[in-house]
Amino acid sequence: MRIIGDLGSHCLTSEGLVEGPCKYSHPTIGEGGYGSFSFLYGPSAGGLLESVAFDILTYGESIEDVRALSYKTRHIKVGGLPLRDVLFKVERINVPFAASHTIAFLTAVENALGVSPPEEVVESRIAQLELERIRNNLLVIQRLAEAASFLVPTYRLLYYVEEVNRAISRSCGHRYFLGANYLGESRCQGLHLPRIDVEELRDLLSNRIFIDRLQGNGVVKEDWAIGPAARAAGFSYDARLEVPELKYRDHGFKIVTESKGDAFSRMLVRLEEIEVSLKILEGVEVKPRRFELPLREGRGIGRVESPSGDLAYMVQVEQGSIKELHLLPPSRINILLFLRSMPENIFTDFPFNWESFGIWISEAEVSIS
């Protein structure tokens, strides 16, 4: 059994819910001695995509401790709203992960109502999740290349991101899957595979300067890690093999792992997972399909493997409306992992380590009531 994260007042594990909150090993907060001082990075600083700030305890150059400061808190009220309205909000919590959020939410609703979606819907959802993973992994690697000021690889990677966006748009009508999934319905039609030369991406690995910025940077090997961060540390954790609703095993899916647990291992995992996802997509058929959702009461959990790890929703449905909704976004766990991995590194390591986790502040700082 592995810990996945706090979901409401419970702790979600690979075996299901247990009494929460989850028990993490608490890090030692660094006490600043003589010569230490605070250095504030963000919220208005180059290198950060979203509004976030870090209070860094340092003696100069080295990082002793890091605290994340919140600048993007959002409260979303869903209590009593009809399911379709909540879906609309869930879809927009973190648009780069829109497919993961909506599919996890819809799975939770379907589990609450005791419904199993038809095969075509499952296949469509797998295709969406893998396309989203490819795009996000490309984006993470692009951000790493940009942090190293490698402009040619940066623009090549952005070109591939655009390729994936166009493929998604042709398949599902929107570059970020908005409107692609609905209650009792999957709307994507036909699968357009993006043309990505994985060998070209691997060329990055032949650059020693680039590798030096990543190797040994941000080592974290916590057994409660999730997603690429866990797999980079040698843990074979992946919701795709743990969750029965999405039948990944039927598509010959294999987990990619590395052992060092550093930023380089996380990048390697993401790079190899692009190829794995492309292979999965080759065996998937995408067709639109509707199915009936009964008007029942119930409680259910939906979990998917988002590009950055486990993403889960827990819903309580009553009369076609939401009575209770809880979210476990992967970025919340990844921030904890990031903060834990940062001490003992130096300032110049910061952007590489930060980008290697693929964190989205928009989903980490959302609160649903």
Binding site: Y34, T58, Y59, G60
Partner: protein, 579 residues
């Protein structure tokens, strides 16, 4: 003859004036400092009449004059004026001595008064004891050297010697006083200097260590040339430059970092002395002598000024000190640190240039394996100067440039600072040769050339730089007009917390990169430890353990074992003396 008589009386009057300053200290501190300043002025005058050792006398006199003036303006404690003038008197006797006994008397007087001053200032005797302990180690070595010299000549007067052994002994004795020794590089001197008043720190750093240089130089003039000692001194000196500058760079104690910088400077001076001893080429020797003298001038005066800067600062930690910035301090400190960083057109620039030129010329002209020594030393000195520049930039920034403006203090510092470019021009007077390079705009005799018997090597023109800099500034000013300055608070990401970078943070990159050598520890006041100091401590602890075990085993109140021990010790001493 008339000049000789005059000089003799001048020496007597100078000494008597300093003794008067010592006596007056029992009545009035200010009167004592004023009289000490008068005595220092007389000593400068005396120095101007002196021959070979003129530079040592004049520079020492200037250091004392500035320090006494500073003390007269700022210090009121009688105990301090007593120990201060006593220290000056001790150094004066050392410099004026005509024989080994006078020299040792002055040396001990200087050591004891400085020890008392360090101890009384803080009411903490550990730094004073440290100072005294190393001072006495130095004295023991000097006595050994002087006895050997006496054995050869049969007199305590300074006579020419044929044996080099007195030179070896005394040189190591003097280097201990300068904070330099093969197995003890950088620790005792900062402990002592960091715990003294600013004006005494400047005397200890600039003048007392200069007495050590004077001692080596004097003994070199009496003993035959020994290339082996030259090579050893070059290596020890260059090693001290590198490590002194490194520890200065990472030290966050304001006076401690200046004291480490003193070790770096003393190392450079020792390297110049070694170069003088290594080379047999008369042209190169003359240039090495020039390098030595310019370094003595540059280090002594700049360090005096910088220690006086610390008198205007509240607190000792570079990261937490508070002070006000004034025009005088700003310009003075910048010029002083520029000189200490080896930048032109200051005298420090000429000093660093000439030392490196000397070393690299020697690496070409000295044959065989010995030629590698100056080459290696040149590399170490070059690296050390890099660290020194970083340390000095940090010192200027955090004691003056980034502080709020207020008041008009530090005119004395400004005066010493202005001396730096002036002395760069006066360095022409010390140069063995002058030349011109009209095609480069350096007209007749405005170039100080470096060369050896095998040919010319390089050249430098402080005058050219001094003229070109204002001209270029004027052109920039005329082209771009009056500068428009907008003062803003440091950007702290809009947090309004007024976060700023610290002096400690500025040096932390080296603490981390060289953590193996520096033994960097986090979260403690002492973040870097000196590996050499640790080695000495371990050696001492080992010796104490051995002594204890030995005494328990063989000197346990058994008279027979004690007799055996005494006989053996006697035989060993006889053998050592005989050999």
């Amino acid at each position: 003859m008339y000049l000789q008589i005059d000089k003799f009386y001048l020496e007597i009057v100078t000494l008597l004036t300093m003794i008067t300053a010592l006596a007056l200290s029992l009545w009035s501190a200010r009167a004592s400092h004023v009289v000490a300043a008068i005595s220092s002025s007389l000593f400068i005058l005396y120095g101007l009449y002196s021959g070979e050792f003129r530079v040592f006398y004049v520079v020492s006199g200037l250091v004392w004059l500035f320090s006494s003036t500073f003390s007269a303006l700022h210090d009121r404690e009688r105990w301090y004026s007593l120990t201060f003038s006593g220290t000056l008197l001790g150094i004066m006797i050392t410099l004026l001595s005509q024989n080994y006994l006078e020299f040792l008397t002055g040396w001990e007087l200087m050591t004891l008064f400085a020890y008392a001053s360090i101890g009384v200032y803080r009411r903490e005797w550990r730094p004073g004891y440290t100072f005294l302990a190393f001072g006495e180690v130095s004295t023991v070595l000097l006595i050994a050297g002087f006895i050997l010299a006496y054995q050869e000549t049969g007199t305590f007067l300074f006579h020419t010697l044929t044996d080099t052994l007195p030179l070896w002994f005394t040189t190591f004795g003097f280097t201990v006083k300068m904070g330099i020794f093969p197995f003890l590089v950088v620790e005792w001197l900062p402990i002592a200097h960091g715990n003294a008043k600013p004006s005494l720190s400047s005397v200890l750093s600039a003048s007392m260590t200069l007495a050590g240089v004077y001692g080596i130089y004097k003994m070199m003039s009496l003993c035959p040339q020994t290339q082996a000692l030259g090579g050893v001194l070059i290596l020890i000196g260059a090693f001290s430059v590198l490590f002194g500058a490194l520890y200065s760079y990472v030290s966050d104690h304001m006076k401690g970092m200046l004291a480490f910088s003193t070790i770096e400077n003393n190392g450079a001076i020792l390297t110049a002395l070694g170069s003088l001893e290594l080379s047999a080429d008369p042209v190169l020797k003359a240039f090495a002598q020039f390098s030595l003298m310019v370094y003595v001038v540059a280090h002594s005066l700049a360090k005096t000024g910088l220690f006086l800067v610390t008198g205007y600062v509240h607190g000792e930690s570079m990261s937490t000190l508070s002070t006000e910035r004034s025009f005088s301090l700003e310009i003075g400190t910048t010029l002083l640190t520029a000189s200490m960083s080896g930048l032109l057109p200051t005298v420090g620039g000429v000093a660093v240039w000439s030392l490196l030129e000397t070393l690299f010329m020697e690496s070409i002209s000295v044959r065989g394996i010995l030629g590698l020594i100056p080459l290696l030393a040149g590399v170490m000195v070059g690296m050390g100067e890099g660290f020194a520049t970083g340390a000095m930039a940090r010192f200027t920034s955090f004691t003056s440039l980034v502080r709020p403006r207020g008041g008009e203090r530090g005119r004395l510092v400004l005066l010493i600072g202005v001396l730096m470019p002036v002395l760069a021009l006066l360095s022409y007077l010390l140069s063995p040769e002058m030349a011109g390079a009209a095609s480069l705009g350096m007209f007749s005799n405005s170039l100080i050339p470096s060369g050896y018997s095998g040919g010319s090597f390089g050249g430098i023109s402080p005058l050219y730089v001094l003229i070109i800099l204002p001209i270029l500034s004027l052109i920039t000013y005329l082209a771009s007009g009056r500068r428009r300055v907008r003062t803003v608070d440091p950007w702290d990401n809009g947090s309004g917390r007024r976060l700023t970078y610290t002096s400690f943070g500025m040096a932390n990159n080296i603490r981390l990169m060289l953590r193996f050598v520096l033994r960097t520890r986090k979260g403690a006041v002492e973040t870097s430890a000196d590996v050499f100091w640790r080695a000495i401590l371990q050696l001492v602890r080992g010796y104490v353990r051995f002594s204890r075990a030995f005494s328990r085993a063989y000197m346990n109140s058994s008279i027979s074992w004690y007799m055996i021990y005494m006989i053996l010790a006697f035989i060993v001493v006889i053998l050592v003396v005989f050999l």
